[in-house]
């Protein structure tokens, strides 16, 4: 993992920044999100892909691309959470007390 991080840290950074920006925006964004049911399906899909990656059953380049996608996606989610949490904290501080 350390080797992969050094090898394409730029893309991981880009994923993180993208996640941070998306998390930041999502706090104040209007409109509907993903439905609860779909969210479970998507979570299950991601879990399945993680399982496949850990089991190393996808060979060669496809296996590498799967690993790369999941790492970028994981970083994206982490930074989304960080961005949303920070924005939520900023919004709650600036809002007038109810």
């Amino acid at each position: 993992m350390a080797y992969l991080t050094t090898f394409y840290w730029g893309w991981l950074l880009a994923s993180g920044l993208l996640g941070f920006a998306m998390g930041w925006i999502s706090v104040v964004q209007h409109g509907n999100g993903v439905s609860r049911k779909l969210r479970w399906w998507l979570s299950a899909l991601v879990a399945a892909l993680v399982g496949v990656a850990l089991a190393r059953v996808v060979p060669g380049r496809f296996g590498y691309w799967l690993d790369l996608g999941l790492i970028m996606f994981a970083l994206y989610l982490c930074f989304c959470a960080v961005g949303s949490w920070l924005r939520g904290w900023v919004v709650s501080r600036s809002a007038p007390p109810a």
């Binding site: 350390a2 999100g33 060669g60 590498y64 996608g69 989304c80």
Partner: protein
């Protein structure tokens, strides 16, 4: 926490650029990553001895194909690659180098090259053998047809290095090492090379032995060439020692009275038995030819050239074989020199005088038996007599003053008659010759010195 869960439902739009990033990252990084992993894997195997190593990388999965020389080496090679950072899976396509049983190695030498074939235990050994072969054989092309196998006997390297040294002593042939048994065949480069090889084989490392040594010695060659234009007899090739050398040169001097002997002989071991006798007999036959070449190769004598007349040719063809020791072969290729133009009696007399001025017909001491060394001279006298068929010739015998006069008279008559009989036997008509003995009555030099006496003991041809 609830807020984070609610907000997360709105994170999905970012996945679209993320997927684009992912695609670009996959597109640009795959090949550099694969190249980098291949290099790192190769570096990890730097100290592992493998043959036919191939590393291919797909994504982060490395396929390692190689021939290993031991099970430990094979496993350690796979483990080394698996431990390279970034490698996800190793597809192990390694195998053990096949075991050769028996473990056979050979070196074959022909005119142009030396070919090393069979099995070699390790790539380093193979390289060392090639280097040693090139160093030992200076300039000869060395071809590597060896493959790598397991199962070499202990001290294989030492044994093969010694055998490679022996290849340098072969003119052609093959040396084979099968497990610990050495077999040799072919021909040694030099006389004495066979013995040198046999001696070197005693130094084989412990456990190795000679199964068959069929290395032959090169033929023992002795050659003589009679050149009628340059008036030389050239002797080349080998003689066993300085005694035989001196004897052969002395015999050549006696038999070839008008040719200068050019001595290019060198002493070498390995002469066949009775070499000296055979060579002297063969030189005698050569001395009877007008031009000719004598080649003695081991126990085979080849004589080719032109005899001076038909009867001499038949005599040489038939007679010489009898003179050789048992086990020798004689292969004559004798033709007859075209007859020279007839001349008148005066010229004939001149020719006789010229011949007898160069050499004398020689007899056994105190007897009337012509010695074999005079055969060449007699052939020339006969050839001359054939050129003047109408002339009658007196063959006169003379002696020195030693001994009883009556005995000398008798001896001179007998010797003159012996020469006349020789000529008649060669096919000349008996009525052309008269044999006369003069004893010591007609000296041509003083009888006080040995030299003078030797000149007086003579046979003269007088054309009447």
């Amino acid at each position: 926490m609830h807020g984070l869960f609610r907000w997360s439902s709105k994170w999905w739009p970012g996945v679209i650029p993320l997927v684009i990033f992912w695609a670009i990252a996959a597109w640009t990084s795959t090949e550099p990553l694969e190249i980098d992993l291949a290099q790192r894997s190769a570096a990890a195997l730097k100290d592992t001895i493998l043959d036919k190593r191939r590393i291919s990388v797909a994504g982060r999965d490395v396929t390692l194909a190689a021939d290993a020389f031991s099970e430990d080496g094979r496993q350690s090679a796979v483990a080394s690659v698996a431990a390279v950072p970034g490698v996800r899976l190793v597809d192990d396509q390694t195998r053990l180098v096949p075991e050769a049983k028996p473990f056979v190695w050979s070196a074959e030498r022909d005119v142009l090259r030396v070919t090393l074939s069979g099995s070699s235990p390790l790539p380093a050994t193979r390289g060392r053998l090639m280097d040693a072969a090139r160093a030992n054989l200076g300039g000869v092309e060395v071809v590597d047809r060896m493959n790598l196998s397991r199962g070499a006997p202990p001290r294989f390297d030492n044994a093969v290095l010694l055998l490679l040294d022996l290849v340098g002593k072969l003119k052609d042939g093959k040396i084979t090492l099968s497990d610990t048994k050495v077999s040799l065949s072919g021909m040694a480069r030099d006389l004495g090379g066979r013995e040198a090889i046999a001696a070197a084989l005693k130094k084989l490392p412990e456990g190795f032995s000679v199964a068959a040594n069929e290395v032959k010695a090169p033929p023992y060659i002795f050659q003589a060439y009679k050149d009628p234009v340059a008036l030389t007899l050239t002797l080349t090739g080998n003689v066993p020692d300085s005694n035989v050398h001196a004897a052969l040169v002395a015999a050549a001097g006696r038999k070839f009275f008008s040719e200068k002997v050019v001595d290019n002989l060198k002493a070498s071991v390995g002469a066949p038995a009775s070499f000296a006798n055979a060579a002297v007999s063969a030189l005698g036959a050569l001395s009877r030819l007008s031009t000719g070449t004598l080649v003695v190769s081991d126990r085979e004598v080849k004589l080719s050239g032109d005899a001076l007349y038909e009867a001499a040719a038949s005599e040489i063809r038939a007679g010489l074989g009898k003179d050789f020791p048992q086990g020798w072969q004689f292969k004559p290729e004798i033709s007859v020199k075209p007859a020279a133009a007839p001349v008148d009696a005066t010229v004939c007399q001149q020719l006789f005088a010229e011949l007898l001025g160069k050499a004398r017909i020689r007899f056994e001491t105190g007897k009337a038996n012509i010695v074999a060394d005079s055969a060449g001279l007699l052939d020339r006298l006969i050839e001359t007599a054939l050129r003047c068929p109408t002339a009658n010739i007196e063959i006169s015998g003379h002696t020195d003053t030693d001994g009883d006069e009556a005995a000398n008279q008798g001896l001179s008559e007998q010797r003159a008659q012996a020469v006349a009989d020789y000529l008649v036997k060669a096919g000349l008509p008996a009525n052309r010759f008269s044999a006369v003995g003069y004893g010591s009555t007609q000296p041509i030099a003083g009888n006080e010195t040995d030299q003078g006496k030797a000149q007086n003991r003579r046979i003269d041809f007088v054309v009447k």
